[in-house]
């Protein structure tokens, strides 16, 4: 019998990054579950939001970075 993922399996694969990896058959089954399970789609949307929000908070240069860079250059050159 081929593997039939549960909500717990799908949620784990979304959060540990394996949703898009592994054997093709596994990926198809995960996607089939996602297509019919609104709860899992909601969870996946939350995980994507967390990643996007973290990128917005920690992925962009902070306002004070230019001053830090100038200090770093001055110290590294000395």
């Amino acid at each position: 019998m081929s593997w039939i993922p549960t909500c717990s399996d799908v949620a784990r694969s979304v959060s540990d990054g394996s949703y898009d990896e592994g054997p093709g058959g596994r990926r198809v089954m995960l996607r089939l579950h996602m297509a019919v399970c609104w709860f899992c789609r909601r969870y996946a949307a939350q995980v994507r939001w967390i990643d996007r929000a973290a990128k917005a908070v920690w992925g962009a240069p902070a306002p004070g970075d230019e001053a830090v860079k100038r200090r770093l250059i001055a110290r590294l050159r000395s």
């Binding site: 549960t6 909500c7 717990s8 399996d9 949620a11 784990r12 959060s15 540990d16 990054g17 394996s18 709860f39 899992c40 909601r42 969870y43 949307a45 939350q46 995980v47 994507r48 939001w49 967390i50 990643d51 996007r52 929000a53 973290a54 990128k55 917005a56 908070v57 920690w58 992925g59 962009a60 240069p61 902070a62 004070g64 970075d65 830090v68 860079k69 200090r71 770093l72 250059i73 110290r75 590294l76 050159r77």
Partner: protein, 190 residues
Amino acid sequence: MGDQDRLRDLKARRPGSVEALVEEFASPLLAAARSWGLSEPDAEEAVQDTLTDFLVAIDRFEGRSTLKTFLFGVMFHKCSERRRKNKREQATEDMEAAFAGRFGSLGVWNSLPRGPEEEAVNGELKSWLEECARGLSDEQRAAFQLKAVEGVDTEDACKIIGVSATNLGVLLFRARNKFRECLEKKWKNR
């Protein structure tokens, strides 16, 4: 500018090469240090130490990893050393039990997962994220920062943190679910 060109310029002590190194890597390294819980002064000091160590040893750098991987690896260890005194030991079973509690015996959700996924990131949500990040271990924060924020590939992220690909997945699973659980609580209580 590619790594090879940058290394050639730095080894030749070409004018502007140090400035170019700082321009490219300082902001991502600072962001990583902040996300790993360092204060502003400590983050700046950690980045300075990282770049200094790299420049001192530049002639011995063989380029077996990318510059980004190497620098983030050094940064991660420096940040871990700085946090070691205040490191909180997190019970790794907490997240597994909390996650398992979301599902019934057939692996189906007990209730709809709730959270702020339709909100734009404003000041309140930013402070929630920062508060929630304090609940992560050093390795969980590093895995999340490298994969979710910096987009570092799995092989490089594993080298930086010093874990296997399987362990990296476990770290990401725990990091993302700790964030989700924490944000859901704050969302419900606001």
